[in-house]
Amino acid sequence: MSDSQWPLWEVFTQGDHGEPFEHAGSVHAADAEQAMQNARDVYARRGEAINLWVVPSTAIVASAPSDAGPFFDPGNDKAYRHPQFYKVPKGVKVF
């Protein structure tokens, strides 16, 4: 059998109740249970997380740099998606 450092997993942590999960880093682990334990030991040893996700790194699909223009620029000129686009009569509290 050949030696290895085990497959790579991406770790996402939730810092507090209701907060989004954020990418914290990666760990090596032979299986999902070990990935979970290693993520706990590496990325939550200072109480940084109340929940963890681990995902095999190979399962992450990333946008390509060449997609950057077509993917994201069109989102920049749609002012009508933002609340500031709309006028509200003076003195009225909408929210």
């Binding site: 085990w6 760990v27 090596h28 070990q34 334990q37 290693n38 706990r40 590496v42």
Partner: protein, 273 residues
């Protein structure tokens, strides 16, 4: 037939030990036993720091060593308080000789290979988990609070070591052989964890401690299924169980461990660090 860890064992104690007077302060004695187990085991585990089989596991073992050392510090501080003679956790850890240590023998054995370390942790974690669970209801507020906090830590320790026992037992032929060798070597040291003597009984009578013997059955209910799942053989009765730690009769290993642990502190008596 398998050896029952809680069953009376052929004791290696000298007759003198049996005749010795009951401890002056059983609660102090009891809490020191709890503290010493974790102090010595935490020390052994910390020997892995920087030498683990893979970076992630190095970090995991350090976490457990930290939990155990933290538990030991809190327990020895509590023992010092109970004793009321002005000794704090460091006085108890660094300025007692080996015959005054009360840890179970299983905790002081050299760390061995990773298989030995893991199987030892697994045996101890299962015992410690059950003990904290019971002590969380102790009629001693400080001890009960400590037990509740430690129970959370040990729940994770047990998950960690249990998972590794499965991986090593049911991994490769080599890992299976090493794990089985560790189980066989350590089995006779487990009975000591479930012994009850005058100290235990005195403290149990006050509703503080639990009867350790009563935990043996439940320990086997945790340990044996995992060993089987890991394709490991639960040993048959191996003859005389190893015991004596609770009375200060240790293996040859503890003296060396303490010589190393205490050297700096004892070379500068009265110094602050």
């Amino acid at each position: 037939m398998t050896q029952k860890p809680g069953a009376p064992s052929a004791s290696l104690a000298s007759p003198a030990a049996a005749r010795s007077a009951p401890a002056a302060n059983p609660l102090f004695e009891y809490v020191v036993r709890l503290g010493d187990d974790r102090l010595v085991l935490g020390h052994r585990l910390a020997e892995w720091c920087g030498h683990g089989p893979i970076l992630e596991e190095d970090i995991a073992l350090a976490n457990i060593a930290l939990d155990l050392t933290g538990q030991a510090a809190a327990l020895l501080a509590l023992a010092g308080e109970i004793e009321g003679a002005g000794r704090d956790e460091d006085a108890l850890a660094y300025f007692r000789d080996e015959t005054q240590f009360r840890n179970a023998l299983i905790t002081e054995l050299p760390k061995g290979d990773f298989g030995f370390t893991i199987v030892r942790q697994f045996f101890f974690d299962a015992y410690s988990y059950l003990l904290w669970e019971a002590l969380a209801g102790a009629k001693h507020a400080k001890l009960a609070a400590l037990a509740a906090k430690s129970l959370k830590e040990d729940t994770y320790h047990l998950r960690h070591s249990g998972e590794w026992v499965r991986k090593l037992g049911d991994g490769t032929a080599e890992s299976h052989a090493r794990a089985q060798a560790a189980v066989d070597a350590l089995w006779r040291f487990t009975a000591e964890l479930f012994e009850s003597d005058a100290v235990d009984l005195a403290v149990a009578k006050d509703g503080i401690a639990v009867d350790h013997g009563a935990l043996a059955e439940r320990w086997r209910a945790i340990v044996e299924p995992v060993l089987r799942e890991a394709t490991l053989t639960v040993p048959a009765a191996p003859g005389a169980a190893a015991t004596g730690g609770r009375r200060g009769r240790h293996t040859e290993h503890l003296g060396h461990l303490l010589a190393e642990m205490q050297i700096v502190a004892r070379s500068h008596p009265g110094a602050a660090w």
